[in-house]
């Protein structure tokens, strides 16, 4: 009984160690498909070792902060991960979805056997038609990265200001 338990225990420790080892051993860039993000930014919203091991906690925290308190900082926002890391289409022009091997979040999760349900609801690629300007550069006026916790509200874009200040169709009738 005890020996069986210790066997199982040992096995799981080994499995965990293997998993951790898999994580700390830097997978090659091709495996991870970092190209899309690298076109847009120098580095991630957190140092590499932090984002690799803690992104799940950050996302879960951000999730509750947004839903319950209305906090909408961009640093740990799921929408922003997707905007920066995922391109809307594959190289052949067909839509790129979570589950495809090119999808940034899939690359790693497939390797470590992690299943997530986030993309049953969340868009797994940027919606280009809706919002053409999503590809803001880090350090632009939206500069929200690396300012953990003290992010200012993003200033409304001109289009948004217009939407509020100008009459909509019908208003002038």
């Amino acid at each position: 009984m005890t020996s069986k338990f210790s066997q199982v225990f040992l096995a799981s420790v080994l499995a965990l160690a293997a998993l951790l080892a898999g994580c700390s051993k830097a997978p090659t860039e091709a495996d991870l498909n970092l190209a899309t993000a690298k076109q847009k930014a120098e580095e991630c919203v957190e140092p590499e070792n932090v984002i690799r091991t803690k992104h799940m906690d950050m996302l879960m925290h951000q999730r509750d902060a947004t839903m319950i308190e209305g906090i909408r900082t961009k640093q740990h926002s799921l929408k922003e991960c997707i905007n920066c890391h995922v391109s809307a289409t594959k190289q052949d022009g067909s839509p790129l979805h979570y589950g495809d091997k090119e999808h940034f979040c899939t690359t790693c999760h497939a390797a470590v056997g992690q299943k997530i349900d986030c993309f049953q609801c969340h868009a797994d690629r940027p919606d280009v038609a809706q919002n053409q300007n999503y590809q803001h550069a880090v350090g632009s006026t939206e500069g929200h990265h690396f300012t953990q916790g003290v992010t200012e509200a993003a200033a409304p874009t001109t289009a948004e200001v217009q939407m509020v200040t100008q009459p909509q169709q019908g208003a002038a009738q």
Binding site: R63, D64, A65, M67, I68, E69, G70, I71, R72, T73, K79, I82, N83, P95, H97, Q120, C121, H122, A123, R125, P126, D127, Q130, N131, G149, V150, T151, E152, A153, A154, P156, E160, V161, M163, V164, T165, Q166, P167, Q168, G170, A171, A172, Q173
Partner: protein
């Protein structure tokens, strides 16, 4: 800040009209016209939690809605993309907002109005939720925290306005700002993503002549002023839910 610009524009517009013979026709609707499409940009910084200082609400003047609210419903559909359920039966399909036709059988008098989540101060859907997913945010917006929704649908039963629906089929390519997925309940969230950015809800934007949106807690806001001047009815006022969505002309 932009509020002032709106007013400035309206004033110019109303005086311009006044110069012509239209003054008399404009006058009765003056309040609505003056304040229409008035968005109140939150002064809140987005790293701060919302507080109960504001309570968002709207007044819908159905006498000014020539289409009974169909345009508002369309705008909502487009914004949140809830029209993508081909596999569901008609009575299962998503309806964040719908046009309700009312007819008095005795007199034959009839009218239509758009009905969506009424954003109650005392929401029955929140009372019955076993997980806390059905929630009221501090600023009065009632929504589903889908992350902890188990899809039991008690809230759908409890809602006197039939405002909620359930997603029965797998979805793809949802709007990035409006995640929706199978197995969870959903409803109008007053375009919470827009409000947080200081933009008007999509339906309000689609019917600027007929809807005023704003802070019900601020007696000087356009919507409070309009409510003070014109009244504004709650649907099923007898339930004492103190709804955030009010109607004129029903």
């Amino acid at each position: 800040m932009s509020q002032n610009r709106v007013d400035e524009y309206r004033r110019k517009f109303v005086t311009a009209l006044g110069g012509v013979a239209a003054a008399a026709t404009v006058a009765p609707g003056f309040f609505l016209r003056e304040a229409q499409a008035a968005g109140e940009v939150p002064t809140r910084s987005l790293d701060q939690a919302v507080t109960s200082e504001k309570r968002w609400g709207m007044l819908i003047d159905i006498t000014k809605l020539t289409d009974g609210g169909a345009g508002m419903v369309e705008a909502c559909k487009k914004e949140h993309g809830w029209d993508n359920n081909p596999l569901s039966r008609d009575d299962q399909k998503a309806h964040w907002a719908r046009v309700v036709n009312v007819k008095d059988k005795l007199t034959g008098h009839s009218f239509s109005l758009p009905v969506m989540c009424q954003h109650c101060e005392n929401p029955p859907c929140v009372d019955v939720c076993p997980t806390g997913a059905s929630m009221k945010r501090a600023d009065g917006i009632v929504q589903v925290n889908k992350h902890i929704c188990i899809g039991c649908r008690y809230c759908m039963m409890a809602c006197p306005y039939k405002a909620r629906s359930f997603v029965h089929e797998p979805l793809t390519d949802q709007r990035s700002y409006s995640p929706r997925g199978m197995g969870t309940v959903e409803s109008c969230n007053m375009c919470i993503h827009r409000i947080d950015e200081g933009r008007l809800p999509a339906c309000v934007e689609a019917a600027p002549d007929a809807v005023i949106f704003g802070d019900l807690n601020d007696p000087n806001s356009a919507v409070s002023q309009a409510l003070k001047a014109m009244g504004g009815k709650q649907i099923r006022a007898d339930l004492n839910l103190n709804t955030g969505v009010r109607y004129h002309g029903i």
